[in-house]
């Protein structure tokens, strides 16, 4: 169905959203802070972004500002927020967010918003895909380079996780993004690509 990026620092909620969206047939990646999220938005052609407002390193509103500044077009961004930030959320929509959903919400609310985003922002999604496919707009982040380096060395996800003190889920998510950026589908083709 759609490729979705979740930017949410609460691991429990993030895991549940991921599970739910995957059960709906979507492909799901995640980022746990604003900066990592921004880098993924800038370099990978996602169909929809789901982002919390309160995030470490960079807030959701800051991410929106950077997205507007650095990208000529971007996929629809759905903001999820605690009630207290309702005013922030309304501002976020002014900054170019597609929709905002207040926590706590029922899962179908998110799914419906994603469906609407895919239909209403079809042009943006396609235009962004074309933009990201241009070679000068691709590049691995520092973290991704590290993960790619260890992966090329033949380390397993668990081993990479231990080396970089990350969760193995996070390593998996990084690898998925690396595959997407380099246009490969598995470790073997990643190895041959990196050796070139």
């Amino acid at each position: 169905m759609a490729e979705i990026l979740i930017i949410e620092d609460d691991i429990r909620l993030r895991a549940q959203i991921q599970k739910y969206l995957e059960s709906k047939g979507h492909g799901v990646d995640f980022a746990t802070d604003g900066k990592e999220g921004l880098e993924s938005i800038q370099q990978i052609a996602y169909d929809v972004i789901v982002m919390d407002v309160k995030l470490p390193v960079m807030s959701g509103t800051e991410v929106l500002g950077e997205v507007a500044k650095t990208l000529p077009v971007h996929p629809p961004i759905i903001i999820i927020t605690g009630h207290g930030d309702k005013d922030t959320a309304i501002k976020a929509v002014h900054f170019g967010a597609f929709d905002f959903i207040e926590k706590p919400f029922h899962p179908p609310t998110l799914d419906q918003s994603i469906q609407r985003a895919i239909t209403e922002k079809k042009q943006d999604i396609l235009a962004f895909k074309a933009y990201v496919s241009m070679p000068e707009n691709k590049g691995l982040t520092e973290r991704e380079k590290e993960v790619a380096f260890f992966a090329a060395d033949g380390l397993s996800n668990e081993e990479i996780a231990e080396r970089l003190s990350l969760g193995s889920e996070t390593v998996k998510s990084h690898l998925k993004k690396i595959f997407k950026k380099l246009g490969v589908t598995n470790r073997v083709s990643l190895l041959s690509k990196l050796r070139k």
């Binding site: 609460d10 959203i17 739910y20 605690g82 009630h83 207290g84 926590k103 706590p104 029922h106 179908p108």
Partner: protein
């Protein structure tokens, strides 16, 4: 001659006695005065230290000082009231910050639970529905708690405009299409405060009226604004609903007190209304008769230039 001298001496002795007694009386008055001033000093130093209940000495030695004490008593009462208001506001605002902080933190785990319940396949359907309902109930509580603690800026605004702005929200809430009559004062009613919070009051009160008229055939709600001659703005919301039991009237402003069914009311609606009104130095009055209906009146000090000039 001797008799003459003797009379003079007697006269002088009498004068001396008289003067002595006058002196004595003056000394006594002086001591009394000193004692009174000392007690006054003690009381004022207590007041300075923040004890506004300090007792000012009564029955001053001279009538003229009665005025001093009575004026001081008035000052003392005003100061006491001012500071206790300040203290209350301070306590309320830190309480608000705490409550909204907790509510905000609960929103994420509550969302997680909704997702878990949604994907669960082991629970029997009725237990699942019950759990989803209970999580919804918790969500309502966090929503209500957050509504009055949102960061806000004070401004002078028109009460009538705030009512207009609350209307879309009220319309969504009015699912039974109950007739709501708005009888608004023709002139703008300028009051000082946070417009969003006043909209919250209007929404909460109309919401209560909608709930109260649920079982009434010809349900009617009336929203009225007026300016009294003395510059007090009155917002009144009346309904012909089920009314409030007499013994509950004292409890309805307590947090979490509700007579609505568990899934429906959180017992925070009127509590929030009352908190907001107090924050705005306003007054809340509720008149209700079981089976006949309820009128809630909210009074604010008007900042209208026209009424101030007229007054």
């Amino acid at each position: 001659m001797a008799q003459d001298n003797k009379n003079k001496i007697l006269e002088l002795e009498r004068r001396e006695k008289e003067l002595l007694s006058q002196l004595h009386e003056l000394e006594r008055k002086h001591a009394e005065m000193e004692n009174w001033i000392q007690r006054l000093g003690e009381a004022t130093s207590q007041i300075t230290a923040g004890d506004y209940t300090a007792h000012l000495p009564d029955s001053p030695p001279e009538k003229i000082y009665q005025q001093v004490t009575s004026h001081m008593e008035q000052m003392q009462a005003k100061l006491g009231q001012y500071f206790s208001n300040l203290l209350l506001k301070d306590r309320l605002s830190s309480l608000g910050i705490l409550a909204s902080g907790i509510a905000h933190e609960l929103n994420t785990p509550l969302t997680t639970i909704q997702f878990i319940l949604h994907s669960d396949t082991h629970l029997p359907e009725d237990s699942k529905a019950l759990l989803v309902g209970e999580v919804d109930r918790m969500s309502k509580i966090t929503r209500d708690l957050l509504s009055f603690a949102r960061p806000s800026t004070e401004e002078v605004f028109d009460l009538n405009k705030a009512i207009e702005r609350a209307q879309p929200l009220v319309r969504t809430d009015n699912s039974r299409s109950v007739q709501i009559d708005f009888m608004l004062e023709k002139n703008p009613i300028h009051i000082k405060g946070v417009s969003n919070q006043i909209q919250q009051i209007i929404f909460n009160l109309i919401h209560n009226s909608l709930d109260a008229t649920e079982k009434v055939k010809d349900a009617r709600i009336e929203v009225k604004t007026t300016i009294r001659n003395d510059g007090v703005a009155i917002l009144s919301i009346s309904d012909n609903g089920e009314g409030i039991e007499k013994q509950n009237l004292q409890k309805i402003l307590d947090p979490f007190f509700t007579t609505k069914s568990p899934g429906k009311g959180t017992g925070l609606g009127l509590f929030v209304v009352h908190q907001i009104i107090q924050k705005h130095d306003g007054v809340l009055a509720i008149e209700s008769e079981k089976g006949k209906g309820t009128t809630v009146k909210v009074m604010f000090l008007c900042k209208n230039e026209t009424t101030e000039k007229a007054a």
